[in-house]
């Protein structure tokens, strides 16, 4: 057996990330463990207890100064990987985010054959897609 447990997103500032991912996006804080200068900080989708997102801040002891600078440059130009979340109400979430002061939408909720999706950026430039999958009619089985 194998399953996804923790995926990583690189952030410029863990406190600011926590505020965005929890207070704006609606995730919840999972683990928060400090080990010297290193802080293992994860969030998760409420109700999805076994999958966590590590909010990793580039810097020592993981990265030397030059690597840290490169990573921070890539994050802020939107060149790093992001997240894809699912919801049962994309437009509702869009309204909630706007009400909470989120302005960095890369795409307003749009309908496609596969469902309704929207795009936002976290405060640092990471792309986050949100998909509300289309309701598909299940084929009757014999």
């Amino acid at each position: 057996m194998i399953k996804l447990n923790v995926a990583t997103i690189m952030v410029l500032d863990q406190e600011e990330a926590l505020d965005f991912y929890v207070n704006k996006l609606g995730l919840e804080k999972a683990q928060d463990i400090k080990q010297g200068p290193f802080r293992w900080l994860t969030v998760r989708v409420p109700g999805q207890a076994d999958v966590e997102i590590l909010l990793q801040q580039p810097g020592p002891p993981l990265h030397d100064e030059a690597t840290t600078a490169q990573l921070r440059g890539l994050i802020t130009k939107g060149a790093m990987g992001g997240l894809v979340l699912q919801t049962d109400d994309a437009r509702g979430l869009y309204d909630t985010l706007k009400a909470r002061g989120v302005t960095d939408f890369t795409q307003e909720p749009t309908d496609h054959f596969y469902g309704t999706d929207m795009g936002i950026r976290d405060p640092f430039g990471n792309p986050i897609r949100v998909l509300q999958p289309a309701k598909v009619a299940h084929k009757a089985t014999a």
Binding site: L12, A69, G73, T76, D104, E108, R121
Partner: protein, 150 residues
Amino acid sequence: MSRELEDLNRRLLRARDAMDRAYAEPLDVVAVAGVAHLSRAHFIRSFRAVFGETPHRYLQRRRVERSMFLLRETDRSVTDICFDVGFTSLGTFSRTFREIIGETPSDYRVGHAPLWAPNCFQMATSRPVGAAGVAMRSSTFEEAAAAAAR
């Protein structure tokens, strides 16, 4: 990387996102530069340094990508698609498309079926990359101002 450069990256990305959202509308480079809180010249220079092409070229490639999407996925006419994605003349659209893709919009349509991939995936992966030697005709755009003057 200094905090100033990180902040500049982030603002340029916000301006690039604005072009990705509003490609179908008449856009002025000054207005897009304003999203990044930069002057026109500083914006064009910084955008090219950070993203490897001018804002105008980025916008053109976004529009060509969206036109390729509509050519594949819909049966709208080439003329309608030209205006749908923000070009204001069929001649410019056809010339730009051919310059970047190497064939006419109609020929492209004949050779390509729908991809059935999520839209964000198509936008991220299908925006045509630069062809060596493709002329950079212009590094600016003043479409909204031009439309207002008409």
